[in-house]
Amino acid sequence: MTAQPQEKLVISGLHAAVEGQEILKGVDLEIGRGEIHALMGPNGSGKSTLGYCIMGHPSYEVTAGSIELVEADGTRHDLLAMEPDQRARAGVFLAFQRPMSIPGVRLADFLRHAVTNVRNPDRKEGQELMPMRDFRSELKAKMADLSIDTEFARRYVNDGFSGGEMKRAEILQLAMLRPKFAILDETDSGLDADAVRLASQSIARIGGAEMGILIITHHEQLLEHNIPLRTHVMLGGRIVESGGPELAAELHKRGYERIRAAYPEAAAAERSMQDALGSETAQPVTA
C-alpha cells in the first residue's frame, strides 16, 4: 500500500429497506482503490442488498446514510444521487449473483455499448460507439487472456448460459470495463472447485493497484488468489466484525456460531428478518 491519499468508496451509516422491510441497519465500510475486501456472512444478512444499494437497484430504498466516491483530493461524489448507469460511468461495477438474460442481444454488442459509455461518461445515446476495429481487438485479447472462446461473444447475453458461463461473462465484463470499484456478488456460487480457482485467478489478473474490490462470498477459495486486506462479517444487516484474511478462513471452517454468540443483538435482527422474509432467504445456497 502506498502512503499517498487514494480514491475511496465510502459507505456511512447505511440503512436500506426493500418493500418496507429494513435489511441494512447501519453499514459502515471504506474501500480504497487497489484494496481487496471480503464480505462474508450467512444468507439473508444483507450482503447482496449492500451490493444492490451501491449500484442503485430501484427496489432498494436507502432510508439513511450515504454512499460516496471520494477522490484523492477530497472531492466527494454522492452515488445515491446518481442513476445506476451514472454510477457505472463513475467507475462502479457490480458482478451479479444472478445476471439477467437479454435474449436477442449479443454479448459483444452489449459490451460495446457498455464499454463506450463507461469510457465516455458524457456520451448520449445515439452518439458513436467505440470503433469496431478497436473494440474487436481488445475484446478478443481479453477473452484469450481469460481462456474464453471468441464464439462466446456471439451468444445472447446470459441467454441459456450455464451458471459457470454466466459468472465467466461477468468476469469478462469486469475485465473490459475496468472499474475503479467492483463488487463481486458470489461470483463463486454455483461453480465447482476448478471453476472457482479459475475465477479466482482471473479476478487476480484483472484487479491490481487501480481497482478496489469487494468480494462477497461464502467460501474462502475465491480469496485464494485475492488475499483481502480486510474481511468483514455481516450479520442482521450490519457489519459486526472486521479482521484480516484469517477471519475468512475461520468463518469458512467454523461457520457463524461464534459471531452470533458474540453479537446477540445482530443475531436477533437476523432471526426477525428471516421470519419477515419467509424461509426462502434462510435456505443455504446449493451449488
Partner: protein, 468 residues
C-alpha cells in the same frame, strides 16, 4: 412532411368515376377487355355490399365505425411540385445509413455502399410518377412496371392471375379495390431468370390522399426475385386529412422458383389501411414473405399463403410496432393444399401507449396434404399497461400425417433487465431499446435482406420511448 393531396376527381367511388377509369385513365394502348370486365364485375358486387361489421369473425376485432366510405373518391394527378414522401428504406437502399458493423463479420457491407435496384416504381395518390427497369433484365423478358401499360402490351401473361389469386368479392373493401385500383404494378419473371437485386415499389400519399394500388408478381419456373414494396405519407392522426389505402397483393411463385417479398406499411398515423394479400406457391417453390408495419391509424390485413404444389415452402415474417391509439389487425392463413409442404410463420409485435395489435392465424391442411409441416407463432412485447394484444392461433387439419404446431406469448420488458444493463453503463432508455431490439432479433435473423432488417430496426428503435 406531407402536403394536401390533389383535389378530388369525384366525390365518391361511384359509377361515374368507374366509367372514367374504364375509358380515359390510360394513355395510348388499350387495357384488355377482360381487365375492364373484372372492374365492372367488382363494381356490381360493391353495389350490393355494406361495410363489414363485427358479426363477421374476420372483422369482429376491428373498429371501423369512424371510417366514412362516402368521404373518399379518386384523386386528380398530383402536380409536379407535389413532394413525394420518403420511404423507410430510402436511406438504407441509398447506403446513407449504416446499420452498424457486426463483431463477427468484418466489413459485411462498408457504409456508404448503395443497394443497386433492378427496378423501381413510384406512385403518389394513386398515380404512377416514375417507373424504371434495368434494360438488361428487360432484354431477358422481365416485365416490371405500371399495370396499365403492361396489361395492354402483355395481357396474356397476366390474365390468368389478375384478380384471380385474391378474392375480390368477399367484402366491401376487396370489391372497392378490384373496381377502382390505380397505379398498380406488375412483375413477370420468365422461367429460369434470376434477378439478384431488389425491385422497389413505393406508394405515397399526400394528406387526405387515396391509394388503391395493386401488385401482381408472377415468377416462372425456377425464377428468382426480391420485391420490396413500401408505403409512406398521408395525414397524421391529429391533423386533418388522414388518408385511405385500399389495396391488394397477388403473388404466384412457379415451380422451383424463389421469391423474397417484403411489404412495409409505414403510413402516417391518420391513414386507414385495408389490404388483401395472397401468395400461391407451386411445386418446390419457395417464398420468404415479410410484413413490416409501423404506421396507419387502423389496419386490416389478410395475408394468405397457399401451398399448392408438392414440396412448396413459405416462411412468413411479421414485424409490427404500434403506438398512440393505432389498431392493427392481421388475419393470416397458411393453407396446405398439397403434400410435403412447409409453412413457418413468425409474427412479432411491440406495443406502446394505448395501441392494439390483433393476430388471428389459421393453418389449414387439406386431406391430400400429408407430410405437412406447419408452424405459426406470435410473440408480443407490451411496452405500456394500456396496450392490448390478442393472439388467436388456429388449426384446421383434415390430413392425418402432419406436424402442425403453434404458439403465442405476451410479455413485458423486465425492470431487472433494465437495471442489469444500467449497471453496465447503459441509460434506461438505451437499455429498453436494446431489450426491444433483442426481442425482434429472432425475426430479423430470418429476414435475409439487409436493408430491410436495418430499416426496421432503426425505425423501431427510434419509436421506443421510456417503458412505462
Amino acid at each position: 412532411m406531407t402536403t394536401p393531396a390533389a383535389p378530388a376527381l369525384s366525390a365518391t367511388f361511384d359509377r361515374e368515376s368507374l366509367d372514367r377509369l374504364l375509358t380515359d385513365q390510360h394513355s395510348g394502348r388499350a387495357v384488355p377487355a377482360w381487365a375492364n370486365d373484372r372492374r365492372r364485375a367488382a363494381f356490381e358486387r360493391l353495389e350490393t355490399l355494406a361495410l363489414p361489421d363485427r358479426r363477421d369473425e374476420n372483422w369482429m376485432r376491428t373498429d371501423i365505425r369512424l371510417f366514412k366510405p362516402k368521404a373518399w373518391g379518386p384523386r386528380r394527378r398530383p402536380g409536379p411540385e407535389a413532394p413525394v414522401p420518403t420511404g423507410l428504406l430510402a436511406d438504407f437502399l441509398a447506403g446513407d445509413a449504416s446499420g452498424g458493423e457486426s463483431f463477427f463479420e468484418e466489413a459485411t457491407r462498408p457504409s456508404g455502399t448503395s443497394t443497386q435496384l433492378a427496378g423501381r416504381l413510384l406512385s403518389l395518390d394513386g398515380h404512377v410518377l416514375h417507373e424504371q427497369l434495368d434494360p438488361a433484365l428487360a432484354s431477358r423478358g422481365v416485365l416490371f412496371g405500371s399495370a396499365d401499360r403492361l396489361l395492354a402490351s402483355h395481357g396474356d401473361l397476366f390474365e390468368r392471375h389478375w384478380f384471380s389469386v385474391i378474392d375480390s368479392q368477399c367484402d366491401w373493401f376487396a370489391a372497392l379495390h378490384a373496381a377502382f385500383h390505380t397505379a398498380s404494378t406488375v412483375l413477370y419473371v420468365p422461367p429460369g431468370v434470376r434477378i439478384a437485386e431488389p425491385l422497389h415499389v413505393l406508394s405515397g400519399l399526400g394528406e387526405g390522399g387515396i391509394d388503391t394500388s395493386h401488385v401482381l408478381v408472377v415468377l416462372g419456373e425456377g425464377a428468382e426475385a426480391t420485391v420490396l414494396t413500401e408505403t409512406a405519407g398521408g395525414g397524421s392522426a391529429s391533423g386533418a386529412g388522414s388518408g385511405f389505402h385500399c389495396g391488394g397483393t397477388e403473388i404466384v411463385v412457379g415451380r422451383n422458383a424463389f421469391l423474397r417479398m417484403v411489404n412495409l406499411q409505414n403510413w402516417s398515423t391518420g391513414v386507414w389501411h385495408f389490404a388483401r394479400q395472397k401468395a400461391v406457391v407451386h411445386e418446390q417453390g419457395r417464398l420468404q414473405w415479410t410484413l413490416g408495419a409501423l404506421g396507419s391509424r387502423l389496419s386490416q390485413v389478410a395475408q394468405d399463403v397457399a401451398l399448392a404444389g408438392r414440396g412448396a415452402s413459405a416462411q412468413v415474417n411479421g414485424v409490427m410496432f404500434t403506438e398512440g391509439r393505432q389498431q392493427l389487425v392481421y388475419n393470416t392463413l397458411q393453407h396446405h393444399e398439397a403434400p410435403g409442404c412447409k409453412s413457418d410463420l413468425l409474427y412479432k409485435g411491440g406495443l406502446q401507449d394505448r395501441s392494439r395489435l390483433v393476430w388471428r392465424g389459421m393453418i389449414k391442411v387439406d386431406k391430400v396434404a400429408q407430410k405437412t409441416d406447419g408452424y405459426q407463432r406470435n410473440d408480443n412485447l407490451m411496452l405500456s399497461r394500456e396496450a392490448r394484444a390478442d393472439s388467436i392461433p388456429g388449426l384446421e387439419i383434415e390430413a392425418d400425417d402432419v406436424r402442425c404446431t403453434h404458439g403465442a406469448t405476451s410479455g413485458r420488458v423486465d425492470e431487472e433487465q433494465i437495471f442489469y444493463a444500467q449497471a453496465r453503463g447503459l441509460s434506461a432508455d438505451e437499455a429498453a431499446r436494446l431489450v426491444v431490439a433483442g426481442f425482434f432479433q429472432q425475426v430479423f435473423d430470418r429476414i435475409t435482406i439487409l436493408p430491410v432488417r436495418e430499416a426496421l430496426a432503426r425505425a423501431i428503435g427510434s419509436r421506443i420511448r421510456r417503458i412505462s
